[in-house]
């Protein structure tokens, strides 16, 4: 379990794998889409992060996901472990709390929660 906040890229990688197992390229593209283009991981850093997360047992290699059109037997797929999912949940809750606190204290102009439906 992380004792401090997750690194943003770790969070994005875990989040990218939350829905289904993916191979590296699809994971990178998923992260790029989910972050609206702000986080772009190329193979060098992507696999350095994946190796670290595998070492922490938050991510493991697995079989292709459920969608048959995605299958590529030659590729290695990555999925979240139970620990990884727990870390992701905790970090998401931590960010939620932080955001609530910022909004409650009206620390940011225009980000006081009024825009949230």
């Amino acid at each position: 379990m992380p004792s401090t906040a997750l690194r943003p890229t770790d969070f994005h990688v875990l989040l990218g794998l939350a829905r289904e197992p993916l191979h590296g390229y699809r994971l990178a593209r998923r992260i790029e889409q989910e972050s609206e283009g702000r986080v772009r991981l190329l193979p060098g850093n992507l696999y350095a992060i994946l190796a670290r997360l595998e070492e922490k047992s938050w991510v493991r290699q697995t079989e292709p996901g459920a969608a048959p059109e995605d299958h590529d037997q030659r590729r290695r797929y990555f999925e979240l472990t139970a620990d990884g999912r727990r870390v992701l949940d905790e970090e998401t809750r931590r960010l939620e709390r932080l955001l609530r606190s910022v909004r409650a204290r009206r620390l940011l102009d225009g980000h006081d929660g009024g825009a949230t439906p």
Partner: protein
């Protein structure tokens, strides 16, 4: 063309950038062997997919990707080595650390997890070896210094000529329309005002041509400012010129369709930045001032930035011009630029324009034996030196 993100095959048969792939494979050697064994193949497959996407997005995107991938490889390798180093320096909780014993030569079969292969240790060993052979160290250092210096110099030139943003929007989609002799391609000719309607009619919705714009070089005389002064680098443009280039003024506004007077020169003008600075001392109150060019009062409405390389560098003055089909002033003197749709084939666009040659020949028989070619904007600037520059940079 947008890359299909869902594609998972790793074949990149259409990708001509095999040299990039070779460079990537070399770069993989920077990684710890264990990392390469675990992920090297996957990294290469992903790299091919990213390179394919970048290649589809155009040449500039491919170069941008190559630079980003090089930085990514280096920083990823550094990340892996630092992680291994920090792991090796951490207190060992088990008896897995080998007992100290007599030093033995390096072997590729050495245990990857041992401290022998960690970065700090490697650096110490390297420093010792370099200290023990000063001559070799000197030669190696000089070689590196020269290599890095030469590379930097070459990259600066290549960047300046091939990669630098060109001061126009989406330079990849801009092309110079050239009317040249079929048998002597180096011999080109300008267009006639009466050709324009024919070409625009032919291009409408065909060959991926989004828009055509016409210009002509001119010389005018500035009067009423003391001595009459010849302004040699003037470009007369139609109303679509600046919208097609996608250039914003640094002061005032650009010229547009509303400035065009039928069959004559318009009564407004925009200045080129360099001339504005040099001749008018960068005076911002130049906007709205009336200058007399060739005896005609003209109001200055804007200043365009320097660095617009089309149709040539250092234009002093831009003026709107309605091309008069009956006025011989511009016969055979009009230049043309095309804005192509994203991913359009310039060859196809040229074919569409070439289909009008018989009609253009009726306007003026000199066109006989000529045809059209489209040259990419950057190619127009770099010309035949491009392959040489790329080879030097590779």
């Amino acid at each position: 063309m947008k890359a299909p993100y869902h594609h998972t095959g790793d074949s990149a048969g259409e990708d001509p950038s095999t040299y990039l792939e070779r460079a990537f494979q070399l770069g993989l050697r920077l990684y710890p062997a264990a990392h390469r064994r675990s992920y090297g193949r996957e990294m290469l497959r992903d790299f091919r997919l990213f390179a394919r996407d970048a290649h589809r997005a155009g040449r500039i995107a491919l170069w941008g990707f190559a630079a980003a991938a090089a930085a990514d490889l280096l920083s990823g390798a550094l990340r892996c080595h630092l992680r291994r180093a920090s792991r090796a320096l951490a207190p060992a909780p088990t008896a897995a650390t080998p007992a100290p014993g007599p030093r033995r030569p390096f072997s590729r079969h050495d245990n990857e997890a041992s401290t022998m292969t960690t970065l700090p240790h490697d650096l110490t060993v390297a420093a010792r070896r370099l200290r023990s052979s000063p001559a070799f160290t000197l030669v190696a250092t000089l070689t590196l210094a020269l290599g890095i210096g030469a590379n930097t110099a070459i990259f600066s030139v290549v960047y300046g000529v091939l990669l630098r943003p060109l001061g126009v929007a989406d330079a990849e989609g801009l092309a110079q329309v050239r009317l040249h002799r079929v048998d002597v391609p180096a011999e080109s000719m300008g267009l006639w005002p009466r050709h324009l309607d024919i070409l625009e009619g032919a291009a409408e919705g065909r060959g991926g041509i989004e828009r055509l714009t016409t210009y002509a070089h001119e010389t005018v005389t500035l009067e009423g400012q003391g001595r009459a002064e010849e302004v040699g680098n003037v470009v007369m443009v139609d109303g679509d010129f600046f919208p097609t280039l996608g250039v914003e003024p640094i002061l005032g506004r650009a010229l547009g369709p509303a400035d065009i007077q039928p069959d004559r020169r318009g009564d407004v003008a925009v200045l080129g930045e360099a001339w504005w600075r040099q001749r008018f001392g960068a005076d911002r109150s130049i906007l709205g001032r009336t200058l007399i060019f060739d005896g005609q009062p003209v109001v200055v409405v804007g200043v365009m930035p320097g660095g617009i390389p089309m149709p040539q560098n250092g234009v002093q003055l831009w003026m709107p011009q309605g091309w008069d089909p009956e006025d011989p002033t511009f016969y055979g003197r009009l230049g043309m630029l095309a804005r192509l749709e994203p991913g359009a084939d310039p060859g196809l666009a040229a074919e569409v324009l070439a289909g009008t040659i018989p009609e253009l020949t009726e306007v003026h028989p000199r066109i006989k034996g000529y045809t059209f070619a489209l040259r990419g904007f950057r190619e127009t600037l770099v010309g035949s030196s491009r392959p040489t520059l790329l080879a030097v940079a590779a």
